[in-house]
Amino acid sequence: MQINFAAKELTIKLVYYGPALSGKTTNLKSLHALTSKEARGRLMTLETKDDRTLFFDMLPLAFKAKDGGASLRIKVLTVPGQVVHGSTRRLVLQGADGILFVADSQVSETENNAASFLDLRSNLKELGLTMRDMPTVIQFNKRDLPNIRSQEEIEGMAKKGREPIFLARAVDGDGVLESFFGLLKITWSRLEAENQLERTLGLSAAEVLPLAHEKLGVEKPLSELLSKSLGFAISDPRFDAPRGPRVPGAGGIPGVGSAPRTGGKP
């Protein structure tokens, strides 16, 4: 996050991570198509080869809170999914405020999803961060394909995991806005808790989401978008808490919990 106090401008960076061909760029294209012309910039695709992302894609979104008020800029970036572009992924990840992990729902992609998640974790570690520092939402994409992990299965896993999960068919735009607003919600909560944005920029948590929703020209009601999360509700007030002690029995809340890590798997 960057705050330009002189220009009363806040820039937040959301990164779409995930294995190769899981639909990160497709998410961005759909997000571009689903948002209003006034608030979105051009979708920038840096260097592609055979239609595969080499560097990153970027969609800038920007709007003003109110006349003369602070303006909010959201940069949505994708990383290149192919394993070989590891260092590029780490570069794109630098300074990220929130991550949407785009997973491929196909059963055959389970291992690739896991490998990419571990890659994310190790890249964050290289940058001196842990998963708990990073507001993260998981999207299970490609729900329209056959041989996918069932919704019941994902719901079961969502209950045990610490991230909210959204289902999506990015190619039709389904679930794209849901995931985006889900991520924006928990990212904002974290930033607000850590930076007192309401006090410094006059942007309150309660008004930013509806504002973004309105300025981006989204038709579906915000509450409907946010209600699509699996696991625990994205509107759970526990998301708003800054990093603190883990709530007993909460089953893991993104960004909450500071139980010291006792080594990892060998």
Binding site: N4, L77, F101, I138, M157, K160, G161, G252, T262
Partner: protein
């Protein structure tokens, strides 16, 4: 070694909040664009940066301007007008009109990129299309002849305000596209540079770690080779003699011994055997560590392995007054393991349990199929659970005892070689501290996991999870 610093440049970060028109578009390119528009409409255009620097100027002198500049007061007025136009703000709407005393107009238009102001466009002077009379402000200039002024004004380019606005819009759109392309090129080159530097840094770092690891491994390898040689030769050879001779003594081959002497010799022999066991364990461990232990996998039932292991440890348990029980669900499917090695896992775990379970305690082997939702207790970190959960089902085997238990913070360490929770327990319970370490390595060699949990309300549970075999593949 000189490791390059991590790149401070961040895609989508700082550099974007500070985009300058002059950085994204070359001055020559900008001038070409401006000239092409001027050629098309005949109206002068200038482009200023956000910091008020003139970036491109395709204005040519107008006759009426040259004319008024021949008079002193006209020159002053012209200067004032031009500098006012230069510094005029396009205002909230992004477009403003600035009038000249000659009746001409300037249109000042804000240039934006990604909603940020990057400069201004000044179109003019041009004569508003509606003008028919020579304005009084022009004829009022001392020395100006109305007739000449009329002639010169008539030669000015004329345009309607909405035409000027359309020209401005067109220019802005063309420039936006060029800026976007420039921005993209800028980012690409930055990214190239950063990626190369990052890859280099990463490689240097990896090389350094590899070198360190290599040095350490070579040293360890040397130590281990020495150690193995010592163990196998220097220790085993005399030990075999000790055991052999004490055996002969106890069998009376060197003459009769009294009761006490025989007991002493038997103790020597017993301890010798124990020592041999320890040395063999060490060798096993070394083989497991170096990966030279061969694993011959077969499909076997959990029950058969449990039964043979139980019969092996039964005398020991009986001696200690500990009860043994099994609870293996009938649905438990077979596993693909090396039966000898896996029996060793059971025996070591059972031996360990017997050792730490008091008289009248109970040791139970529990086996069941588990789904994918069970988490491995050793990792309480549940982030990414939905992504990291394996697809294949596993068999879980628990060895439960009602012994003294292992404190939570000691549970991961019990698998370290030679580790004992409390070194005084070595004296009390005996043992080498190798058994569990061998268990962990054997289980891992079979693609499984082992960890410790508490056995409520009293005792310890060793939990072994091993991939099942013979299950129908998922998704059917």
């Amino acid at each position: 070694m000189n490791t390059p610093q991590r790149q401070s440049w961040r895609p989508g970060g700082e550099e974007l909040s500070d985009v300058k028109l002059e950085d994204l578009v070359s001055r020559e390119g900008l001038l070409e664009l401006v000239e092409s528009v001027v050629d098309l409409f005949g109206i002068p255009i200038r482009v200023y940066s956000a910091s008020n620097g003139l970036l491109a100027d395709a204005a040519h002198d107008q006759e009426v301007c040259n004319y008024v500049n021949t008079f002193g007061s006209g020159r002053t007025l012209c200067g004032t007008t031009v500098s006012a136009a230069k510094s005029a703000s396009p205002g909230e709407t992004g477009s403003a009109l600035h009038a000249c005393f000659t009746g001409n107009s300037y249109r000042i238009v804000a240039l934006e990129y990604e909603t940020r102001n990057v400069g201004r466009l000044i179109i003019g002077p041009y004569l508003p299309a509606a003008t028919v009379e020579v304005p009084l402000t022009l004829t009022a200039v001392e020395g100006v002849e109305p007739e000449k002024a009329r002639v010169y004004l008539a030669r000015m380019p004329r345009a309607k305000e909405d035409t000027i606005q359309r020209i401005a819009d067109h220019f802005k759109r063309a420039l936006d596209l060029i800026m976007f392309a420039g921005h993209k090129t800028f980012l690409t080159s930055q990214m190239h540079l950063a990626a190369v530097t990052e890859s280099f840094r990463e490689m240097q770092e990896k090389n350094r770690r590899l070198e360190e690891a290599n040095t350490r491994l070579r040293e360890l390898d040397r130590l281990k080779s020495n150690f193995l040689a010592t163990v196998s030769h220097e220790l085993r050879t005399p030990l075999t003699s000790i055991i052999g001779y004490s055996e002969m003594l106890s069998e009376g081959l060197a003459g009769d011994m009294n009761q006490e002497q025989r007991e002493f010799v038997l103790t020597i022999r017993e301890k010798g055997e124990q020592l041999l066991g320890l040395i063999s364990g060490l060798l096993d461990l070394s083989k497991l560590e170096s990966g030279t232990l061969s694993v011959k996998r077969k499909v076997v039932s959990v029950r058969s392995i449990a039964d043979t292991a139980l019969s092996t440890v039964a005398p020991n348990a009986k001696k200690k007054g500990v009860n043994l029980a099994t609870n293996i669900a009938s649905s438990v499917v077979d596993i693909t393991v090396d039966p000898d090695r896996f029996r060793q896992v059971f025996i070591n775990l059972l031996d360990n349990a017997i050792k730490f379970t008091p008289e009248n305690g109970t040791i139970t082997i529990v086996a069941k199929n588990i789904g994918m939702m069970e988490s491995d207790g050793e990792d309480d970190d549940q982030d990414g659970f939905s992504l990291l959960t394996p697809v294949d089902p596993r068999i879980e085997i628990r060895i439960l005892d009602t012994g003294i238990g292992i404190p939570q913070n000691e549970r991961a360490k019990v698998f370290d070689a030679f580790y004992q929770v409390d070194s005084s327990s070595t004296r009390e319970f005996g043992g080498t501290g190798l058994g569990l370490s061998i268990v962990k390595r054997l289980v891992e060699a079979h693609g499984g996991t082992v960890h410790v949990e508490g056995n409520e309300p009293q005792g310890t549970a060793f939990v072994v999870r091993i991939p099942a075999s013979g299950m129908p593949p998922r998704g059917t």
